[in-house]
């Protein structure tokens, strides 16, 4: 299991479409993926779970990934966060 602290960079936070992109990517991996934020823990493969964090720009999250492909998963997910979830017009 690996844990990694990340900060949300894009201006509109983890709203619907960034959440969808995150969930879509995470679901490609076998590993379990959980997100912690201010004491909440949600399933990172559930879009409603991710959305209910209501994570805005600057929010600090902890990603928890556990499974056989956890390393690749973390790498891909971090890339997505750094690329601001592919939201070009933000």
């Amino acid at each position: 299991m690996i844990k990694k602290k990340v900060t949300i960079l894009n201006s509109s936070g983890l709203h619907a479409r960034p959440s969808a992109a995150l969930v879509k990517l995470a679901s490609k991996f076998k590993s379990d993926f959980y997100i912690h934020m201010y004491g909440y823990r949600v399933n990172g493969k559930s879009i409603l779970g991710v959305m209910t964090l209501a994570a805005e720009q600057g929010a600090e999250l902890v990603f928890e990934i556990d499974g056989s492909d956890e390393k690749e998963a973390l790498k891909s997910i971090l890339e997505l966060v750094e690329n601001k979830f592919g939201m070009v017009n933000e």
Binding site: A16, R17, S19, V23, K45, S46, I47, G49, M51, T52
Partner: protein, 574 residues
């Protein structure tokens, strides 16, 4: 400053079904609908799980179909919706709610989505608040898909006045059984299906009120004065006592129903027959009380609305048997008269459903359904010989008559082979409701045993007026001279070939209409049971000669206004 919520409010609409009612207000606005916790038995768990799974599949399919022709941005939004619909947490939680907590599928969906919605709401983030409505919509769509054939009926206090934007026929029946005393519908015109059913169930109803749902949310009590198309919310004491008196008067008049036993003949002894249009077994008692001589039109569409289509022939048998057993006189059964959309959700949407694949057009394509209905009708005809008639809807060309007759012959033969008794001389007639059928009546008359004129659709098709469209409802004129001419043409064809002719549209249940029809020599009329007494009252006090005078005049009129003016004058003079 205070907002006055107790003041009397009057809202105008169109009269959908006559009568007066006072009752508590029950507003059902489907968007704001709350779903109550409902537990299910363990044997229903599997069904509920399946309903949930199939509702997700259907929803995803809908979204896929939608996103095909969209620009990228909109498609992206739908993509998010798809993620929400197929969310794994949602799936697990809903399945758990059904399996472990034994909640019904609709409540499980409602409950699980609301947990997420609540959390979003609590987050206080402005940006995320906007998503709540989207998620609520997804929730409601899933519930609707999961409960497709299951009505969602609220508890009702007896005598309540139901106020809705629109309502399905089956829901209206369910509310009627729960004892509502009136119906207000914001949408729809006077011949919308709900209004017709309200008439036959004898529930006062106003349609096209537009703002009743929003206006009534805080109201406690209401008066429906349907004949004036007026809804009064929060009525004053004076108004209440005035209307209570009127209701008492009406009740007294109804109790007497003085004419229900009187002979059906004009003052000078010309006999006529007034029969009932019904759709449900629950209406039989009223039809009997009103003195109906049999059922002139038995609508069978409710069998489809209730999902009978997938059910066996024997369930149709049961319905017809109950009708025949609890009535006397002839029963004219109209074959399924619906559009393709009632068959399944996958039939492509039609731009003009009223000019589309419906009635006999659909039945001839869906032979299996036609044959199963014909079998059920023919079987019941064997048990009640000389009482059952078959009525074919939506005939527009001659060939359809021939083909439907051929099918009936085949079904008869098959039943004969199986040794099932039928009424071999069962009468087969067609609806005259498309102008082309009226114009070709002299040819068609040679092929059938009777005609039944459906004036509602005949008016719609002749005047090119969608009868559900309230914007052009002024053009929907059953008294228009053009309609009378088509009726006359049909009458002449029926006389020439000596076949029976009845009229079963709203025109028959309207006093002016009935007068003119009897005046033209059409003595067999079928109408909603509640209209029988009123129509009979007028007919038995007049002579055939008086009635003919008006029917002759209206055929020469140019406008509906002329027809009505003459009628008013006639009523005063004679």
């Amino acid at each position: 400053m205070s907002i006055q919520i107790n003041g009397e409010i009057s809202i105008k609409g169109l009269p959908g079904s006559d009568g007066i009612a006072i009752g508590k207000v029950l507003v059902i606005d489907h968007k704001a609908k709350k779903i109550q916790p409902k537990k299910i038995k363990s044997e229903s768990i599997l069904t509920n799980l399946k309903q949930f799974a199939s509702s997700r599949q259907k929803f995803l399919k809908e979204l896929n179909e939608l996103s095909n022709n969209l620009d990228q941005k909109t498609a992206g939004i739908l993509e998010t919706q798809k993620h929400i619909v197929s969310d794994i947490e949602i799936e697990q939680k809903i399945n758990t709610a059904i399996e472990d907590e034994h909640y019904s599928v609709d409540y499980s969906i409602y409950k699980v989505f609301n947990e997420f919605i609540e959390r979003l709401r609590e987050s206080g983030s402005e940006l995320f608040q906007q998503r709540i409505i989207d998620i609520e919509n997804i929730r409601d769509r899933l519930i609707a898909l999961a409960c497709e054939n299951e009505a969602n009926i609220f508890e009702v206090e007896k005598g309540a006045i139901l106020i809705v934007k629109e309502i399905s026929p089956t829901d209206l029946i369910s509310y009627h059984e729960k004892g509502i005393s009136g119906l207000i519908m914001d949408r729809g015109g006077v011949t919308s299906h709900a209004a017709l059913i309200a008439q036959s169930l004898n529930i006062p109803c106003i349609v096209s009120t537009k703002i009743a749902v929003q206006s009534a949310s805080l109201a406690k009590q209401a008066i429906i004065d349907a004949s004036n198309g007026e809804l009064v919310l929060n009525p004053s004491k004076e108004k209440l006592s005035e209307f209570r008196k009127r209701i008492k008067k009406l009740k007294r008049a109804r109790k007497v129903l003085k004419n229900s036993k009187a002979a059906s003949e004009t003052k000078d002894g010309v006999a006529f027959h007034l029969r009932a249009n019904i759709e449900f077994t629950q209406e039989l008692e009223l039809a009997h009380r009103c003195g109906a001589e049999g059922i002139g039109l038995l609508r069978t569409e409710a069998l489809l609305y209730e999902g009978f289509i997938k059910k066996s022939e024997s369930e149709q048998d049961k319905f017809y048997e109950e009708i025949l057993q609890n009535s006397s006189g002839p029963v004219t059964i109209r074959l399924f008269d619906v559009g393709g959309d009632k068959l399944n959700a996958h039939t492509p949407e039609e731009a003009n459903p009223f000019l589309g694949w419906r009635g006999i057009r659909m039945l001839l394509d869906e032979k299996e359904m036609l044959i199963s209905q014909l079998r059920a009708i023919l079987k019941i005809s064997g048990k009640f010989p000389n009482r059952v008639k078959i009525l074919v809807p939506m005939i527009s060309v001659f060939e359809e008559v021939i083909e439907v007759k051929r099918t009936i012959k085949q079904v008869k033969k098959a039943l004969d082979k199986e040794g099932i008794e039928i009424d071999d001389s069962i009468q087969v007639g067609i609806m005259i409701e498309v102008p082309s059928a009226a114009l070709l009546a002299n040819h068609i008359a040679k092929e059938v045993d009777f005609f039944s004129i459906g004036t509602n659709d005949l008016t719609q098709y002749t005047l090119a007026v969608d009868r559900g469209n309230d914007q052009i409802s002024k053009l929907y004129q059953q008294h228009n001279p053009a309609i009378w001419r088509l009726i006359k043409l049909t009458k002449e064809a029926a006389d020439e070939h000596k076949i029976d002719l009845t009229v079963c549209g709203q025109l028959a249940g309207d006093v002016l209409g009935a007068i003119c029809l009897i005046g033209m020599g059409i003595t067999d009329l079928s109408m909603s049971p509640a209209s029988i007494s009123r129509v009979k009252e007028v007919l038995i006090t007049r002579s055939r000669e008086e009635l003919s005078e008006i029917s002759e005049y209206i055929l020469s009129c140019k406008t509906t206004a002329e027809v009505q003016q003459f009628y008013e004058k006639w009523g005063k003079v004679s």
